[in-house]
């Protein structure tokens, strides 16, 4: 097979992977960590510890707050100081467990050796329980609980497990580094997930601008010899790593609007998630570490890093450890430059899904003033969902929710391609995000009303 890519839209920003040669370094522990209870999609976790409790590394400190939720474990050993709200990246208050670090004592159940464990357990239910108990969530950005994604609803069969090693966001290199440094663990993780999904084939998609990762992952696949796993080279194109785009690229299938990947037989997991699954199932290690990139457009490579960090370490500590905020930085971003979030609060803590601290200079990131739309259609050409951002923008301005729904505003994946490519610098995504929220509200209200009506009809029928 040649290089694959998705069928519509997309943009080609410079990949700016300046930190690609920086090997993963382990970040030292600070004096205090703050573990967020909302590190995953879905309901926040419920804290199980109280101030004064002693904890060890890997101990459960919070349980899932709902079906779509996840366990949270202590990343350090020490004493719980407080269970209180604290501001997150954007400044919103979120419940955190504050732990004063004392030594580094690990739960004895965790296998801390470097030995590769390649034997896959037989019991699917036990594997899923381990993944759930380890608090594994998707590390590709959405942080959706992994055990839920690996349990297809009845009647749905996984036909292909896609491992996402695209890392299509410019600047980020954390996935690249783990693919280069820990390819075997990732492949074992993939084999475990294959097992859970009933033995479907697995395709590891990696973009062509990461030849070292393609080589190391291919070598690991060949060496370990699990059946049905292959590395697939993808063209370099953003947003290749978007779930729907990756399914389109690898399987040539498109997920229906409002549908789930499993509807077309796809399960997509990030390579970092695969590593977390490996550690959870083979090493009993819960998800308490991840790799994060410190990078930027105007900082020397010597100040760029890929850190293995414990979850709960404040960003400010990491930034200080890496040498402070460079003078050229005008904007600090958690995540990539296309979909990452601007950091308004550097005291915020790292979470399971943290992937970077990115410094962008004024020249790279300052938005230009908006001018008239010249109807060039570049936004529509760039949209990977085939939407017409110029049209959605106009419809939102006149408040026509029906037309917005007809023109599929709710399908927007917020990848930013429209605003990235607009020569008139119109804040298309800002507007469409609002429109999408309102349209989703309408759709949900309609579904709720339909459900209520159906129940009322049923009740009336039973009353007769």
């Amino acid at each position: 097979m040649g290089k694959l890519t998705f069928s519509m839209g997309g943009v080609h920003p410079h990949d700016s992977k300046f930190s690609r040669a920086c090997a993963i370094e382990e970040l030292p522990l600070p004096q205090t960590v703050y573990v967020s209870m909302a590190q995953h999609l879905g309901a926040p976790a419920k804290p199980l510890v109280a101030p004064g409790d002693k904890v060890v590394v890997g101990q459960v400190i919070a349980e899932p707050g709902g079906f779509i939720s996840a366990f949270v474990h202590s990343p350090v050993s020490g004493t719980v100081k407080a269970v209180a709200p604290r501001k997150d990246l954007a400044g919103n208050p979120v419940m955190h467990v504050e732990i004063a670090v004392e030594g580094d004592e690990w739960d004895p159940a965790i296998d801390r050796s470097q030995d590769l464990v390649t034997a896959i357990p037989d019991d699917k239910a036990a594997i899923l329980d381990k993944i759930k108990a380890a608090g594994v969530v998707g590390l590709g950005g959405a942080t959706f609980p992994t055990h839920v994604k690996l349990s297809p609803p009845p009647g749905k069969v996984a036909e292909c497990l896609i491992l996402n090693g695209a890392e299509c966001e410019p600047f980020l290199t954390s996935d690249f580094r783990i693919m280069v440094e820990r390819p075997k663990e990732i492949v074992v993780g993939a084999a475990i997930m294959q097992k859970v999904l009933g033995g479907c084939p697995c395709v590891i998609g990696i973009e062509e601008n990461k030849p070292e990762a393609i080589a190391s992952m291919s070598a690991a696949v060949a060496e370990l010899g699990y059946p049905g796993i292959q590395v697939q080279v993808l063209k370099k194109r953003y947003p290749q790593g978007g779930e729907k785009q990756l399914i389109d690229a690898v399987m040539h299938r498109q997920v229906k609007s409002g549908g789930l990947p499993i509807d077309v037989g796809a399960v997509v997991q990030n390579v970092a998630t695969s590593l977390a699954v490996y550690e959870a199932v083979q090493k009993n290690k819960p998800l308490i570490t991840n790799v994060l990139t410190i990078t930027g457009d105007q900082i020397p490579v010597s100040q760029q890093h890929n850190y293995l960090f414990r979850i709960g370490i404040p960003l400010s500590y990491i930034v200080e450890h890496a040498g402070g905020i460079p003078d050229s930085a005008a904007k600090l971003i958690s995540g990539g430059p296309m979909m990452g979030k601007a950091i308004s609060n550097l005291d915020a803590t790292t979470v399971k899904g943290s992937s970077s601290v990115l410094y962008l200079s004024e020249a790279a990131t300052r938005r230009q003033p908006e001018t008239n739309c010249i109807r060039c259609g570049k936004c529509a050409d760039a949209c990977p969902m085939g939407l017409e951002p110029f049209l959605l923008n106009r419809l939102y301005k006149v408040g026509d929710l029906d037309a917005l729904e007809q023109n599929a505003a709710q399908d927007c994946i917020e990848c930013g391609c429209c605003l990235y490519s607009c020569p008139a610098h119109i804040p298309l995504l800002d507007q469409i995000r609002q429109a999408k929220g309102q349209v989703m509200g309408v759709i949900r209200a309609r579904a709720a009303a339909a459900k209520a009506a159906a129940e009322a009809a049923k009740a009336a029928a039973e009353a007769k």
Binding site: P337, M338, T371, R375, G377, A380, G386, G416, P423, L429
Partner: protein, 328 residues
């Protein structure tokens, strides 16, 4: 964090394209054709170009600043493009005050009253040109070549190939007779067809258009539809009667076919957004232009064809949309 940092939603980077950079690319793409016309028609052509561009820019600046009380949009270079395209549609011997009137109609009638760049329904340069054509028919069809910097082998005084042919056909001669009487050689038309700046050299226009394609400023569908339609229609008609109907090569290389298809019909603002809409729009232009050339009283119909199809753009945008992901 003592220093203030920017906080705004994603994306945090931009492709570094702007309206200005796009217009600059269009200007660069027009340069080969402008060069050929200046070489062919000399100082007079340069003056027409200069007056047209300066009038468009000054009028846009004056109207936006003084009448509309808005920030000037001159910096986006769209007025320069309008000025160049207008000048390229005019004979080099035209009085300069008529050029100014054309610029006035383009900027102050076709463009700014609709809201400026991006809002106009009709292509400003073509509107200006058509206004001049119906208002000053004598001056607009005075094709006496002004002295150029290089000699022109094919130039016939007083008429473009298209208008000369129309006269010849009216007087009862056939196309082969006409070609021979004027010593026309179809192959040489590619570089030198003896007409206004924008019509003289199809080759130079194509060269510029390739630049636009490489820079991804435009997509080829609209020009392909326009020129393809013109080629098919002229192939059919000239196949039926080559004595009365001109052939494919003649139609594609003369008149405003190239300038219209490559640079006027592809104007972002006045062409449809979707690919299918663009193709239909292009076919419409090709059909109307050929019908005017064959059956109309005007020798050339490109401008009228584009203006007429401009009217259909809102409808085409309403009917034809992009193919969406996951929606059959």
């Amino acid at each position: 964090m003592d220093k203030k940092y920017i906080v705004s939603p994603n994306p945090h980077i931009h492709a570094n394209v702007s309206t200005t950079s796009i217009m600059r690319d269009v200007i660069i793409a027009l340069c080969p054709a402008i060069l050929v016309s200046v070489l062919a028609y000399g100082w007079a052509e340069l003056l027409v170009l200069a007056v047209s561009v300066l009038s468009c820019v000054l009028l846009e600046w004056a109207v936006t600043r003084w009448m509309m009380k808005r920030p000037s949009t001159v910096g986006d270079l769209s007025a320069v493009v309008t000025g160049l395209l207008l000048a390229m549609n005019l004979p080099s011997a035209i009085p300069l005050w008529i050029v100014f009137i054309g610029a006035f109609v383009a900027i102050c009638v076709a463009k700014l009253p609709f809201g400026g760049i991006g809002q106009n329904v009709f292509n400003p340069a073509i509107t200006g040109r058509v206004f001049l054509l119906v208002s000053f028919p004598a001056q607009m069809t005075n094709w006496n070549p002004t002295p150029g910097f290089v000699a022109l082998p094919d130039a016939i005084s007083g008429a473009t190939p298209l208008s000369a042919l129309k006269e010849a056909l009216k007087s009862g001669s056939t196309i082969p007779q006409f070609m021979e009487a004027n010593g026309y050689d179809l192959a040489s038309f590619l570089w030198d067809a003896g007409a206004s700046a924008g019509e003289i050299s199809a080759g130079a226009l194509l060269l510029g258009f390739v630049y636009l394609l490489i820079r991804r400023v435009v997509k080829p569908w609209i020009p392909v539809a326009v020129l393809g339609t013109m080629a098919i229609i002229s192939a059919i008609f000239s196949g039926i009667n080559p004595e009365v109907y001109t052939g494919v090569q003649f139609n594609l290389l003369t008149g405003g076919a190239m300038l219209g298809a490559l640079f006027m019909a592809t104007d972002y603002v006045t062409s449809p957004m979707s690919t299918l809409g663009g193709v239909i729009y292009g076919i419409g232009i090709g059909v109307i232009a050929m019908m005017i050339r064959y059956f109309g009283s005007y020798p050339e119909g490109m401008s009228f064809a584009i203006l007429l199809m401009n009217c259909t753009v809102p409808l085409l945008n309403m009917w034809f949309h992009q193919k969406k992901y996951g929606r059959a």
